[in-house]
């Protein structure tokens, strides 16, 4: 295993992941663990936990962590660059296309269909996070406090997360 292999493996994971970081985890599992045997299942579990509890995109965090385990700091950087390369190329191509055809009737019809769907997709993400995170009355209380801060207080989301982290430490510890 060398750096080029790490780069290409993560580029492949990036290329075939649709729907964000969580969709990437099964790909890493099948490609990096089962096919290549670069990580144990226990290390994979650690990776998911780290990716979830640290800031930043899950996919980037996972790639950095696995790359680091495989080949140190350089490995972490190479794996991260690998995982984002397909994104950058494809998004730039799509962005250029959208901007080129911005004023055509066809594209505006497409957009009118897509925009509500995007709102629906984000709502679905909120539902799936809520399912996992709201398991008991104390978490409902935190959610209610967060809702007041967000919808009534219009408080900065980063501050909301910080306050709820402190709340969590106080009521769950």
């Amino acid at each position: 295993m060398n750096l080029l292999h790490i780069y290409l493996s993560f580029a492949k994971v990036g290329l075939f992941t649709f729907g964000g970081g969580y969709a990437m985890l099964p790909l890493i599992e099948s490609d990096i663990i089962q096919k290549r045997g670069w990580l144990t299942m226990a290390e994979f579990t650690d990776m998911v936990a780290i990716a979830e509890v640290t800031p930043g995109p899950i996919a980037v965090n996972s790639a950095t962590f696995v790359g680091y385990k495989l080949a140190g700091i350089i490995g972490g950087i190479v794996a991260t660059l690998g995982v984002i390369t397909p994104s950058i190329v494809i998004v730039l191509a799509l962005a250029a296309l959208v901007r080129k055809y911005e004023r055509t009737a066809t594209l505006s019809r497409i957009k009118v269909g897509m925009r509500p769907a995007v709102a629906g997709l984000i709502a679905a993400a909120a539902i799936s996070v809520a399912k996992v995170s709201m398991a008991e009355p104390r978490s409902y209380a935190v959610a209610a406090a967060a809702a007041v801060m967000v919808f009534v207080g219009k408080i900065d989301p980063i501050l909301v997360l910080a306050v709820c982290g402190i709340l969590g430490a106080l009521i769950f510890f």
Partner: protein, 203 residues
Amino acid sequence: MDSRQVSGMTCCEKETDNGDGGSKSASLWDMFWTFFRIGAFTIGGGYVMVPLIQKDVVDRKGWVTKDEFIDALAIAQTAPGPIAVNTSVYVGYALRGFAGAAASVAGCIIPSIIIILMIASVFDRISSLDVVQAIFSGIRPAVAVLIASAAIKLGKPVIRSAGELAIAAAAAIMVSLLHISPALVVVIAALAGLLTGIGGDSR
């Protein structure tokens, strides 16, 4: 005739037109720093970063319009790869072409790289601490609320008819109940818009 429009410059110069490209001037450093800050403070992945990116680039800085941000999200979810990275590439490109995309994506991923590399060595000792578990028990419900608020904020301006509401509801159901890939849902919604002309051709 379209060849001139593809250059990186045009994207920043059409704020006068249909209001769909309302990009205000942004320095590369400001773009890098904005995404760096979001990348450094957002726990829970791409969907959590969406409301923060929206707050900064749409509400606070006014770099892109709400409609344009929604286009960015549609593309970010249709293209493979991390949502946050895709969004930063699109917004960066819309503002300042390739250099803008590079500055935004660098800002988005550098905090992750630094933090993960620092944490990887000490993680085993930290994660089992009860207080760390408790903090995350508090953060997770807040994350759900933040994502819901993003869905509401972004949905308001684009859901103006029963047809559009149906598309939004169908998309949410397809993903959360039927477990259909978000990329496929975006493509289906695009086809629905193209074929039915929901909302008319004026927009």
